[in-house]
């Protein structure tokens, strides 16, 4: 789900940067409000590396290959740090590996970063539902993990379908976009299951990381 250079028209690319700039500004403003803004930088740094590595591990789902996004996990674990972390990771992916591109860095940040924000807010509002229950935590993990990737696929799909250049075979490209989007459905479920197990594990070994200090009940 990394849109490369030369695929989207200039207006969409500029709009992507505008939205990303706004989201980054909101994120940094909220980070600065914290008592110690540097406190979570180590966590953000490690998760940025994990996000980068995850993009290199491909899962073959014919006719395409896809990879874990981890943006839901980033959102929950990093909160307002998630969006800047995603921008940094996407920058390295574009410059080093050619995943995405520099002109589409803004739009790719929107595709992966905005769902991370949404996951963060859903998780924060579901803490009273979880109440330290492992099963409920897993359920929330499944929802936020799967939803984040699902929303990313949806944004990716809507942008691409609506901005196909006229000089290519529009019907064939639309068909290809539908195929790719449908191919992500199994990955949405895999991402949800992975997030659920990770949340349960982190709650057990490092509950502070999850923003939950109470002990896990069975």
């Amino acid at each position: 789900m990394h849109v490369p250079d030369g695929i989207l028209p200039g207006s969409v690319v500029i709009a992507g940067y505008a939205v990303t700039g706004m989201a980054a500004y909101i994120s940094l403003k909220n980070i600065n409000k914290k008592e110690n803004p540097r406190e979570d930088i180590p966590k953000a740094s490690i998760l940025t590396a994990a996000f980068l590595v995850a993009s290199l591990i491909h899962v073959p789902i014919p006719p395409v290959s896809v990879h874990l996004a981890l943006n839901g996990i980033m959102g929950v674990l990093l909160g307002y740090y998630a969006f800047p972390a995603i921008i940094i990771s996407l920058f390295f992916q574009a410059v080093l590996f050619g995943h995405g591109g520099l002109t589409t860095l803004g739009i790719n940040s929107v595709i992966l970063g905005l769902p991370a924000f949404i996951s963060f807010f859903i998780y924060n509002n579901s803490k009273s539902f979880v109440k330290g229950n492992r099963f409920r935590l897993g359920l929330v993990g499944f929802v936020v993990g799967g939803l984040a990737l699902g929303l990313s696929v949806l944004i990716f799909f809507l942008i691409l379908v609506n901005f196909i250049p006229a000089n290519i075979d529009v019907v064939a490209e639309k068909q290809a976009i539908y195929t790719l989007s449908i191919a992500h459905i199994p990955l949405v479920i895999i991402e949800g299951i992975f997030t659920a197990f990770l949340f349960i594990y982190l709650k057990k070994v490092q509950p502070r990381l999850m923003g939950l200090d109470e002990k896990v009940s069975n």
Partner: protein, 150 residues
Amino acid sequence: MWGDLLMKRIIILTLFIIILFSPIIAHAHGAKIEYNANMSYELLAKYDSGEPMANAQIIVYAPDDPATPWTKGAADENGRYSFVPDFSKKGMWTIQARYAGHGANINIEIGEEASLAGSTGYTWLQKLIMAASVVWGMIGTALFYTRRKN
């Protein structure tokens, strides 16, 4: 005396006939080669994972008009596509492979600076080293911000 003169004339006449018809004789055993420089460029479009970009749309832009496609087509199931460029249009040709919003561009120099082969992307070893460098940088950042202050 007359006999010698006659013999000389016969020899000269024979040589004249041989010289006259020699191209025909030579032509009967000759051969020729014609050639047409009809070189084509074969492209192979692949994903980073190494899988071919099956049925990817290929758009070729000539150097004189980088905004209008010079030709368009589709790769086969193995991601292969061939085209014969107009060699009179020297300069940088741009070829884009695209499938479902994914794709890549490659620039090919055609003319005096033309190269026989080229590619974009990196080997898995290069990627591994780059990924390890970034991960190490991130770990270093994490360690820097978790250091104890004296």
